[in-house]
Symmetry: C2
Amino acid sequence: MTGNTAPSQADARRTVISVDAMGGDAGPAVVVAGIAKSAKKNPDIRFLLHGPIEQLEPLVARRKHLAGRVEIRDARDVVTMEDKPSQVMRNGKGTSMWSALEAARNGDAAGVVSCGNTGALMALSMLRLRKLPGVNRPAIAILWPSRNPQGFNVMLDVGADVRADAEDLLQYALMGTSYIRNSMDLPCPRVGLLNVGTEEHKGRAELKEAYALISQNAEKANYEFVGFVEGSDIPGDIADVIVTDGFTGNVAIKTGEGTASLLRSALREAFEYSILSRLAALLAYTSLARLSKRIDPRRVNGGIFLGLNGTVVKSHGGADATGVSAAIKLAFLLAEQGFAEKLAARVASAVELAQDDATSADADEPGDSESGSTN
Amino acid sequence: MTGNTAPSQADARRTVISVDAMGGDAGPAVVVAGIAKSAKKNPDIRFLLHGPIEQLEPLVARRKHLAGRVEIRDARDVVTMEDKPSQVMRNGKGTSMWSALEAARNGDAAGVVSCGNTGALMALSMLRLRKLPGVNRPAIAILWPSRNPQGFNVMLDVGADVRADAEDLLQYALMGTSYIRNSMDLPCPRVGLLNVGTEEHKGRAELKEAYALISQNAEKANYEFVGFVEGSDIPGDIADVIVTDGFTGNVAIKTGEGTASLLRSALREAFEYSILSRLAALLAYTSLARLSKRIDPRRVNGGIFLGLNGTVVKSHGGADATGVSAAIKLAFLLAEQGFAEKLAARVASAVELAQDDATSADADEPGDSESGSTN
């Protein structure tokens, strides 16, 4: 996964990840445990850590793998889960979240990780890092366990914005495919547009329009469009990138997480039910551990913000050290690959394509006719 | 669950269920197997079966539990999964689905079950049975496995209509609570409105409006409004009835189903992995069977159409005999309890309430001020 860039080419800047120590449900100790876990596994990573210095210094000092690899930037305020994004944009300058983003803005860090308030993080990211030219609505993309060979699908938007028009959904397709190309070995990802049925006459008007746009751009932007997909295809194997608005995407992932969590509880109860079943659990320990790892939400912890000048990874608010470490690994990998720059180039060329299309829209280009006629 | 009505009061009509034998993925043999299963378990049930008589007669003749309990009504045409609802409304008169609904319309049956095309079934149901007075959009409600003591939550709409405004969402709350009162022992159900966060400032404009309406009607309509809930609460224990539009609800249940199905496959693989894990599966057999039963989607097979003059249950297109039997059981229970009549009364009184509210909207009633001020 790091094959694209030889380590010798990596400069110091690329390996610095800016981490907001505050705002997670479990406090800074868990965040520091997470960065220590990352530091142990990955010698190429360094950290900027943001929060109240008197809290962070002793936590860092206790971890031997962090010695000489963490610079603490003192920030007195904390964005809470209850703060409204608009308040944070006005009054958030002294917060650890703001400080973490500022480090990416001024080039001190190649990526940002926060466990804090998602809405505030997106609002501050847009304010400080700015949207990429041509992007209307940035999106949050996540990896979802799936039946595909790569083990995961990408879904976006999962909550940056509750609205998305057809143009936005096309941009999500472009950004999502760019992301999956850079995080997995998929040169021509398959894109599906989430709907309530796979038939072309179903769903809302903006989805039919998005269907046409995404279909028209498939060849030029080097993805395959598989058309409408349903909720059951999010963990399925007919698409690699699932495109939807932030309201639907957010409800979908939370429903999936909730259902998985209910099943895990039920499974645990089943194994604790009798002596025989406890013995069975013992015998099946390695198999169950493998299963548990495969469906562990912490392994895919980290929603990535797409469409900004910079790489921002939102870790789950309730993440433990393993979860924080997974989010940091994601930010590191994307930074190493110069993902933000590649995505910017991809979106810029798509904007050009769209302008070309607008100019020649009435000319009935032969290249467009096939995809156009299927809508 | 049948305690509300003494069996001695049940007349012959109430125990007749009208079943569309065609349109399911597996064909009429599975539907007949399903009604045979129901007939064996429940001596009080009789059937009207709709479809091509030459196909159905031999299938019914083979089942001894169906002897003398099934009347076949010949219908030559079948609604396929590909048919558009609008086509079926125009040309569907000769179909088994039309015939099945007609039996409820003219009073020959107390409930209808079909495994066919959902969109067509809803369209034909609205055409033949008509909406209840005061209902704008009928909804499809399902039971979802949950952490609640009753084991299930009700969610609606899961796909009758991709749109829903604030008034519709209030009606869904009224219909959903009426349904759960009649299918489970919950005198004062808790209602949650699905959103991307539980904070009141989040989400779309129509949701904030619906929040106010549902909150204002809680006391009069005898439910508790717990406010906004998230996707993770659909299988959770903070609400009994989850209200949302048909687009979001449909995506959510399919995502949940897909995720559960992926987990079941992964679990199966884990147990087949080694000799030890196979032995473990053997030892844990009864516990796993119990778990499997608890999360078996076939047990809660059956989306119920709410807001019509009559009881229509949509069984999953891919349902097997167990699934069909579960859908029939649901239709039977609701018919026994006179649910359609109770729901009609509930909606009618809510319409009156709404008219009262509209008249006194500017009067700032003390009774409304508390709930109004929380929005």
